[in-house]
Amino acid sequence: MDNESRDPHAQLRALYRSLLERQSHFDEFKQLLALYPQSLADEGAEPEEASLIRSRLNSRIADWIGGDFDGLNVIQVLQWRAIVVEERFNVVLSPWKESNA
């Protein structure tokens, strides 16, 4: 096991590359995130069903990046969900459209 595979930041970069380069990964990632609750009640305690979804997601990510993956925690999954599923951080400016890229 090399150092990079244990580096959480490197793992996240590998996940990012995987999502960028494979539409099927992105689609499955988004589908699994959509199954996860939008927020957690009860002071952040993760329901069993949500935990199973997160485990499934982490297992799939490990497959995609071809190595060890420490796994996304609850906060990270909620953050990803907000961005990818709810698109909460993307403000779309259409008409006389202009990109913010």
């Binding site: 996240l12 990012y16 993307n90 779309v92 259409s94 008409p95």
Partner: protein
């Protein structure tokens, strides 16, 4: 940063000239048009690029003798024209409910825009150069676009670009009027028009790529319209579901082709901006040119890359940067 500040100051000053009942609505216009998440967001935070709201100021870099007041008036005329363009498009596209208040504010914006243009060009100096003609071109283009989308037509790139030029025609008069006022020749003024047209087209292609899925939900995705023209695939009648459309878009390679055109337009804009001596605009266009080329290459390798990159962008900013 200074141009953004100037935009907000100019717009705030314009609001103060309005009849009292319209002032609050005018101040909150970005929000009222559905372009901002709260009423206190100013235009400077809504409009992403300086060229969009302050094109004349960027050309003024190559007009050292021009009076600052003229430049301010040209920026005012241009920014109000663009704001009116956003509002008109949103209304025509039924993205916001039409209200008498919004219509009154936009009418005031158009009057202030025309007054500012006259101050730049002089009463006799704006012959053949007015916003009314550009406004008509914009409305014609918007209506043509609606017809194409409603009838699920396929059109070629030439048609797309003709419409895009029409939709953004209001982005030209203020910069040209400023150049005339500075004594630029007809060919130099023509170069300004071509530069800006290339900028608008480069941006339009890029936006129509990264937003194509959202546009599809509103039944107005140009990627599908263009893909239908370049693709030899036969779609069964009535096959308009998302999966079929995505297959068409990906297999046609239309997104990469649109990005390649975006690249070529930004390159053309950069070259003209360099020739005109507008270094800031040229530098900005070069950045966009390089980015569009990179996106086109990646899109060619991995269909949907540009959309995914855009979707993941906020996460990168928060986590990886």
């Amino acid at each position: 940063m200074l141009l953004r500040q100037e935009l907000d100051e100019l717009y705030a000053a314009f609001c103060e000239t309005l009849p009292q009942p319209l002032r609050v609505g005018a101040r909150e216009l970005p929000y009222r048009l559905g372009m901002a998440i709260s009423p206190d967001v100013p235009w400077s935070q809504v409009l992403g690029h300086e060229v969009t709201f302050a094109a004349p100021a960027l050309f003024a870099e190559a007009m050292p003798q021009i009076a600052p007041a003229k430049v301010r008036d040209a920026v005012l005329a241009h920014s109000l024209a663009v704001i009116d363009g956003f509002g008109t498009d949103r209304i025509e596209d039924r993205q916001i409910p039409v209200s008498a208040e919004i219509c009154d504010i936009l009418a005031e914006i158009r009057r202030a825009r025309d007054r500012a243009l006259t101050r730049v060009a002089g009463p006799a100096g704006n012959q053949g150069l007015d916003f009314a003609q550009a406004q008509r071109e914009m409305l014609d283009a918007i209506h043509d676009e609606h017809r194409i989308m409603a009838e699920h037509q396929s059109v070629d790139f030439a048609h797309y670009e003709r419409l895009a030029r029409g939709k953004t025609a209001i982005g030209l008069p203020a910069s040209i009027a400023l150049a005339r006022s500075a004594g630029w020749s007809a060919s130099e003024c023509g170069a300004i028009a071509k530069t800006l047209s290339s900028v608008w087209l480069g941006m339009q292609y890029h936006d129509d790529v990264i937003d194509w899925e959202d546009d599809f939900k509103r039944d107005s995705a140009w990627a599908i319209v263009l893909a239908g023209h370049v693709s030899s695939a036969e779609l069964a009648p009535g096959m308009t579901d998302y999966d079929s459309m995505r297959k068409l878009v990906f297999e046609s390679g239309i997104l990469a082709r649109m990005l390649e055109r975006s690249f070529r337009h930004f390159r053309a804009a950069r070259k003209r901006a360099e020739a005109l001596g507008t270094r800031e605009l040229a530098g900005w266009a070069r950045t966009k040119e390089n980015y569009a080329m990179l996106l086109a290459q990646e899109e060619r390798r991995n269909s949907g890359y540009a959309v995914r990159l855009h979707a993941l962008g906020p996460w990168v900013l928060q986590v990886l940067s």
